[in-house]
Amino acid sequence: MSREDYEIVIGLEVHSELSTKTKIFCSCPTEFGGEPNTHCCPVCMAMPGTLPVLNEKVVEYAIKAGLATNCEIASISKNDRKNYFYPDLPKAYQISQYDMPLCEHGYVEIEVGGEKKKIGLTRIHIEEDAGKLNHDDYGRGSLVDLNRAGVPLIEIVSEPDLRSSEEVDLYLKKLKSILEYIEVSDCKMQEGSLRADVNVSVRKKGQKEFGTRTEMKNMNSFKSIVRAIDYEAERQIEVLEDGGKIDQETLRWDDVSGKTFPMRDKEDAQDYRYFPDPDLVAIKISEEMKENIRKSLPEMPESRKERYINEYKLPEYDSNILISSKYFSDLFEGATKVCNNAKAVSNWIMTDITKELNEKELEPSDIPFTADELGNLVILIDKGTISSSIAKKVLDEMFKEPRDPQKIIEEKGWVQISDEGAIKEIVLKIIEANPQSVADFKAGKDKAVGFLVGQAMKETKGKANPQMLNKMFLEELNK
């Protein structure tokens, strides 16, 4: 038997922090960071006698997420306690949802190798985040910061419908993009506002029953998730091929060594003793409430894509990249409105802006300048005020210190030289300095013009208008 005889089965539990202003059960701010324990109050610190009150926005956002992922919305729902001891969980229970989640039976569509595939969603429920443990380097103890305790989360549980790490990557990107579009989460990976528990098992192709699964918890990078799945599937296949069996256990993925390690001892099989939280009352969702939330949903990526292809005549490939992130898509639409040159804006986003983000390991949400500013940059190129090579330098500047491109080129003296007299002066100077190229041209080597234009661009630090240079060199050389 070989690797090809096995099928990988993956299910995900994705936790996403909701972008409400306040926590789920108290009025403390959810803002990331801040001095330790300054976004806290007696409720989220679990002081005796305090009572939780549910934030209405949390319910609304979770329903929004459910509607955007084709879920059925419960008409009645409740909160339950999940009991376990850990120092980042001050109540010794997490308020979550057990048997009556807000949303169930949804799906997300991904495109694998040109074919559409539906990934089923078992459920979406609301719950509270835990605090953060800081480990003292000197090994004398741990320090508990409860700023994050009580920040609202939705947990999105998928069916075991995913069959490869590639599908998982596509699914996660799609989910992230949906949550961004409906503006319920900012999905900042580096701040941990999107994390996943990954369940992996393998089985022989054609086999009906699932294999025993292992779980990797709290992963917050898509790249690590892909690597971890590939490693773990390979490991399980090896164990089975050697006649062994897989233990159902929780593993820790180590990014440095690229391996998984068992996390808890297996005797501690989890037993959370869920029960309804008596401090909270039932959540009833009326048809009217559901409809109002449905009406508030923004235009979704698929519909935007259609529009980009039909209205702006963009290729499907370009449209797919633009809709992959709400931030790209909004930037594109905003800038195009300003400059009326969809193709140019799209190219800037797909090439230079993407390159800059990759180099600096930033996400589209981190783009510091506005759509208007990008639109104005395109206008400056279209009017011939700056060349496209100068435009790249302006873009660099916009990333460093966002301001209007017009201001940047004035400050830096980057306005393109389009004055005929000035261009002619440069052309004559370059011709005089490069007799060999002139001779080459006369001998029939047309390419020599390109070299001369290049020299002229160098001389003017990229400020000369290249089309005018080209034209004038030809005129002069053919005299």
Binding site: T20, K21, T22, S27, C28, P29, E35, P36, N37, T38, H39, C40, C41, P42, M45, M47, V53, L54, N55, E56, K57, V59, I76, K78, N83, F85, Y86, P87, L133, N134, H135, D136, G139, R140, G141, S142, L143, V144, D145, D271, R273, P276, P278, L280, V281, A282, I283, K284
Partner: protein, 94 residues
């Protein structure tokens, strides 16, 4: 339903309680009494009673999403046995 020794030990572990071997029988008996008592409730005829989700019958008690800062970390930390850098200091956890 009979409470076994293993169950007592399991529950004790989940509740982070340290119980002695000679206490197990007593706890088993006490828990058994509670279960028997609850069992009485299981025999109540509830055929015409609407299902409830808790003892409180109202629903949709919500809060507006508006920030109110508590703004006094010292009070929140005042009962901590140990603190450092504005945080609770606890025995090291890995």
């Amino acid at each position: 339903m009979v409470v076994s020794k293993e169950e007592i030990l399991h529950i004790a572990k989940l509740a982070d309680l340290n119980i002695q071997e000679n206490e197990i029988d007593e706890y088993a008996k006490n828990l058994q009494d509670i279960l028997n008592f609850v069992d009485v409730l299981n025999n109540v005829d509830t055929d015409n009673v609407e299902e409830t989700m808790g003892v409180i019958s109202n629903s949709n008690v919500f809060r507006k999403d508006e920030i109110k800062e508590f703004g006094n970390r010292d009070i929140l930390l005042q009962n901590a046995p140990e603190q450092e850098e504005g945080m609770f200091k606890i025995p090291k956890v890995i």
